[in-house]
Symmetry: C2
Subunit: 258 residues, 2 copies
């Protein structure tokens, strides 16, 4: 199979950098082809702007990106990343958690690559089907805080909820089967034993990336919601929710395994 | 009072750009001083990296940022934004919602300006107190989707939950009183009537920015959690939760007004 690792850390000698090297070697040892988008090394442009569209301007930024996509006029760096996504069977997003989400350079990869027409659009199914359906994706992230800040009652909020806009709003939206995230806390000033534990857990997740059960997000494309074209918006069909759930947990068919 | 508007849109003629101009004139008409950080016009650097630290490298990126902050060696553009924050009584973050969070250039403003030592650190109180306590902040954002995608049962998840990492994890974390966000959906291809409605609602929020009740987030600094230095992490004190709430709603003392 083919794996794409999208990696964002400013220091190749960081823990995140070490895990990138580990992911490349582990996936290759498992017989997969591996491509890495090392965003800092690529000096990836973060800010999405009209210079991406080869002179296409209006009528609005979103539709300008769609026009540029449809006519093959997106910047070459964007087209290259879109092709990597189309070629991949597995996408791993690997980054340190900065202010509870991705670093800006990775947000810039998302903003610029997931254009109108390519990733979403008026007639493109979403949440359970879509242009990237059939592929798997896994978020892998490290935090400096203690795990007890990220529990169900933890002051930061639960990691799964903090990652919902990314896992559900980007990856599930565009069709991916989204694997449970790989998250390690207290990932600063590690001794060898702590590092080896993290590395072993990550290797295990990579070795099982094609067999792990995805998060059981509900499917708009499959009829769990009133639907993209419903004039009032798309809401969960009454009665489908697991009793007692609310918030983001509504969108998982079995909240005990997300 | 003094207001800082941090504005991120690649097109000055966009709806977001119009609302920026409106915010400047409305706040000035109310007698406030207004400073704008127009991130695209400033060609703000998004990617946080070691070039921000005047040669300071180790031992890890987070602490390198703290060392650079403490020694006054952060890049001049970062120090300037930190001073704007310290000078402000009100901060408005104004942006289009891209993939359910801020555009990359605004994430880059957050990543680079909210450094260790300035915004957070081992001995700096958080969530209810902190370096930016006494100031107010308001998120103002526009989406292209219909409001019915963002309701309690909407497929995208509720806007308040999608904005929790920003409102709670950044703004409340660093001490701000966080106002309910200004959010407008279906903000594409507007006729004059729709635009005027949005503009009037935004003006009303700006006129009341110093009197609106903030979101009643719970306070770690005030003792609602086990606390930053608790060895197991910081969790909500048992019994404080509103019965029946879970997820992000746990962190609001009155979930009916967030």
């Amino acid at each position: 199979m083919r794996a794409l690792i999208v990696y964002a850390h400013p220091d190749a000698n960081s823990l995140t950098g070490s895990l990138k090297d580990l992911a490349v070697s582990a996936l290759r040892a498992d017989g997969h082809e591996v491509v890495v988008s090392d965003l800092y090394a690529m000096k990836w442009q973060s800010a999405a702007d009209y210079t991406d569209f080869d002179g296409i301007t209006g009528p609005d930024f979103m539709h300008a990106s769609g026009t540029a996509y449809e006519s093959g006029r997106l910047n070459a760096d964007i087209r290259s990343e879109q092709q990597k996504l189309l070629d991949a069977d597995l996408v791993v997003l690997l980054f340190p958690l900065w202010w509870f989400t991705v670093p800006a350079i990775l947000k810039g990869w998302i903003d610029r690559v997931f254009t109108y027409g390519f990733a979403y659009g008026a007639d493109i199914p979403r949440y359970g089907d879509g242009p990237l359906a059939g592929k798997r994706a896994m978020v892998a992230t490290l935090t400096g805080g203690r795990a007890g800040h990220y529990t169900a009652r933890g002051v930061n909020g639960p990691t799964d909820d903090l990652l919902f806009p990314l896992n559900h709003g980007l990856l599930h939206f565009t069709g991916f089967d989204v694997l449970p995230p790989f998250v390690e806390h207290s990932a600063v000033h590690l001794d060898d034993q702590s590092y080896n534990g993290i590395a072993e857990r990550f290797r295990q997740r990579l070795d099982t990336a094609f067999t792990t059960e995805p998060i059981p997000y509900r499917s708009e494309a499959g009829g769990d919601y009133t639907g993209l074209t419903h004039p009032d918006g798309s809401e969960l069909i009454p009665g489908l929710e697991t009793p007692g759930t609310s918030g983001f947990a509504l969108h998982v068919s079995d909240p005990t395994r997300s």
